[in-house]
Symmetry: C2
Subunit: 212 residues, 2 copies
């Protein structure tokens, strides 16, 4: 059964269990999914209303474009909830491969490398999707339905937690890779995403707090 | 159907829908639930292991006590996921009450006050539960299974987002209350919870980053 098909209660209990997966990677992707869903809800509560229709055409276009982008981000993050746990399980399976003969050792090493690379790329994608939401949220804070202003705020907080949480999972897997140049590149990418994400969260929350 | 009985995918889609509930309050409580569940998982992956058994008795006691506390916090936050949406719906219902006669007006006003008070107290409780988790997490970062260090980090991020997100929902409902002294007291309480929560998150993340 896919994780997203579990009930919310069963998912939370599956996280809590002594099985290491689902763990932080899947939870971060769910955090991002919830952040983007709240943002989309604010869009649904805004577009077509009187106050929205009175905005400049340029602002309306910008808002509607941002709203349309939320759908793809949500779909992508919902998929990552399961992909992250699958990638983690692949790493575990690779480590359990036999390592008696030289051939087995070499096959195991290749499998570990491949699985670790996947276990790094999946949360990296999650972080990038969360960054996309954070880029959209300021416009929702500025022009979204005022009654839903706290939902924009919670959405930004969840998207940011998803972002930093996913990056923790990228970083911990970097240790398992041999290619130093790749490691340095990914590390720099993580730092840049984290910095931009933090700035976007602060900008959105500033607007939110000014309106409550 | 209770929200926690929906599948994860249906819950996310219910958030996204044009219905204003479930919204940020329920999502914040779910964020907190996920944060505490990750923390409990780290406890499950730590207690009884060789490295844990070698720790000082005092540390083991502290860790086990923290672990035992996670269960109650999780149960409480899972309940708040539904309670918050129920409280929100009560506010909406109160505003829709008839207001033709003086008697109706007065009955409506009383219902709005009561519902708003509930809609403020439910997320306040959520924020307090999230603060409890954040208080426990540093010991998990310090003595928990090293392989699950990123799970402690994601857990802290989710708990903090749950805390600040819940406080946004407290604050927005303060505007609907007449009692100035009560408003000031709650405002001060929110500020104190937010400050302490932020410090605890930073302390835990500092330990997490030093270990990955």
């Amino acid at each position: 059964m896919k994780l997203v098909e579990k009930t919310v209660m069963d998912f939370v209990n599956a996280v809590e269990s002594k099985e290491p997966a689902p763990g932080g990677g899947s939870v971060a992707a769910l955090g991002g999914s919830l952040g983007v869903a709240l943002t989309a809800m604010v869009g649904n509560l805004t577009i077509g209303r009187k106050k929205f229709n009175e905005l400049d055409e340029e602002v309306k276009d910008k808002f509607e474009k941002a709203f349309n982008e939320t759908i793809d981000i949500k779909e992508s993050l919902l998929e990552i909830i399961d992909e992250d746990t699958e990638a983690f399980n692949q790493v575990m399976a690779a480590f359990k491969m036999p390592k008696e003969t030289e051939e087995e050792k070499s096959r195991r090493k290749a499998a570990i490398n491949e699985a670790t690379s996947l276990a790094m790329n999946v949360p990296l994608k999650a972080a990038e999707e969360c960054l996309k939401i954070l880029k959209l949220q300021e416009v929702f804070a500025q022009y979204g339905n005022r009654n839903a202003i706290t939902d924009v705020g919670v959405g930004a907080l969840m998207a940011y937690s998803g972002l930093e949480g996913a990056l923790l999972n990228v970083k911990v897997n970097l240790g398992g890779l041999d290619d130093e140049e790749l490691v340095n590149n990914i590390q720099a990418k993580c730092d840049s995403i984290l910095k931009e994400g933090k700035e976007l969260l602060e900008a959105t929350l500033k607007v939110v707090y000014s309106k409550i």
